[in-house]
Amino acid sequence: MPAASHPPAYRLERSTAASRIGGILAALLVLILAALPFFGSSATMRTIVEFISLLTLAQMWNLLAGYAGLVSIGQQAYIGLGGYALFVFGNDLGINPFLAVPLAGLAAAALALPTAAIVFRLHGAYFAVGTWVVAEVYRLIIANMAWQGGGSGKTLTAIRGFSRWNRESITYWIALAIAAGTVALVYLLLRSRHGLALTAIRDSEAASASLGVNVFRAKLMVYVLAAFGAGLIGALVYLNLLRISPDAAFGVNWTAFMIFIVVIGGIGTIEGPIVGTVIFFALRETLSDFGTWYLILLGAVAVLTMLRAPAGIWGFVARRYDLRFFPVQRRVRLHDGD
């Protein structure tokens, strides 16, 4: 029998009920958080800055690995570079340290370009180890520079002119801005056609290349963006801590945390890193007395998650309850009649 003369009417939807409610809640949350310096404690603000730092790093790593298929275990290179850029701009060049934060991000992104030229020659697991080598190179170069404090590090003297409340509040607000900016950026990116391209690349490089997607350029863009994010966070973290050293700034622990957060939370989703960071912090608060055992547990949970529930906690929840707070897919809704 021939089909009906009209094709079924449909409309493309993006937002879901959950995302609409979530949007309102998020707006309220942002208002409360922005006002925190006026009624909250220093400790709370520091914790929130730390939370935002890890969340942003996790989101960047998620973008790299979960969307662009670039598994990097060397993002600490850009955290360290961002941190040290803050000190160079602030201490050595006399720039306002708060202004130096975004500049540090740019510096990291600038260095990511020649780095990518080298490191993109490797693929898959070899690319991953290559990024680690690069991070080590940056660490060793800086550790050998006496004018940057060598192996023992240095203090952020540029901050001395500011009152304590000013310093803490402005650092805090910068952190909030970074958090909001990153979430918005990642969400918008993945909604755009660049995001579609990335998802296509993740699913099949060969197929997407044959469809005209410039795979190299897409990957490069994500790599530089992730470097920018990591650089921003590096500057933020050491603005918060006021003291930097090469081993801390370029330590692979950063990558360990990023990976654990994303794996446990749920790779390849926007909500995943958020869930993962919350769990990470919860674990840290409850287990902070246990030092090494905490890391062992984290590692074990990540390994088990990867083996048993590779989509992570959010992946499991989303699939089970069909929830999306950050809808990036387009859903087709069919209409009857009309």
Binding site: L122, Y126, G130, V137, M306
Partner: protein, 289 residues
Amino acid sequence: MYGWIDTILQGLLLGGLYALFAAGLSLSFGVMRLVNIAHGDFIVLAAFVALVIVQASGVNPLLAMLAVVPVMALVGYLLQRGILNFTLGKDILPPLLVTFGLSIIIQNLLLVGFSADTRKLSAGPVETASIKLGGGLAIGWYPLIVFLAAIAVIAALQLLFARTMLGRAFRATSDDQEAAQLMGIDNRRIYGLAMALAMAIVAVAGVFLAIRTTFTPTIGPDRLLFAFEAVIIGGLGSLWGTLAGGMLLGVAQTIGFKLDPGYGLLAGHLVFLCVLVFRPTGLFARTLD
């Protein structure tokens, strides 16, 4: 002048140790396309196993190696069949992330068990004995032994792959694991045996490392990087290439170290990056992977 020749000789012999680090990594990648991020940590684990055996029995660590090898081989077999076999597939993420997690777990378990104190195993006078080459040059017996061991291991591996049924099974499984099953080859067992063999070599490398330098639970990742660099510099698919890669890396490090102690490791990494930029397939590549 002799100082430089001496430095280069030391670097060349150091390449033997690096080739031993790399051989296991190369093997597991060749057979199963698996890069074990915890590879360096297993080398350190082997060193601590040797430590335990030496402390308990008082034997020379070189002799203890005879016990460390089967222990690590068993660890490797169980690791592969119990965990890593389940990560193999088209996605590169699971094996990378699981082995990364294992790396963190091993390092921290070792820290809990042995603390961060530096350790070293002593093999006796052979560590400092040297052979006079004339003209003021000398090479140490110990580095020479390690280098010769590396050659022996690589030669044995080549023989295994080229002449034995197991080696043929390794190659066949690597080429086409489904067709290999049609031949009666059990992939899971083959992968387990490959990892057992890789860990056996790791055991040898770990004991040699423990005698040569001081070690702590956290030096694993650097060993992974050296192993990796030796493989890439030498070129994928060639074990002798890996030896050459290790030697080049060793020389770069010893020369760098001689110029300034802070530059030793950096020089090695920079040479690696140079090879990556100017000859990405490595010096002696055989397979294009």
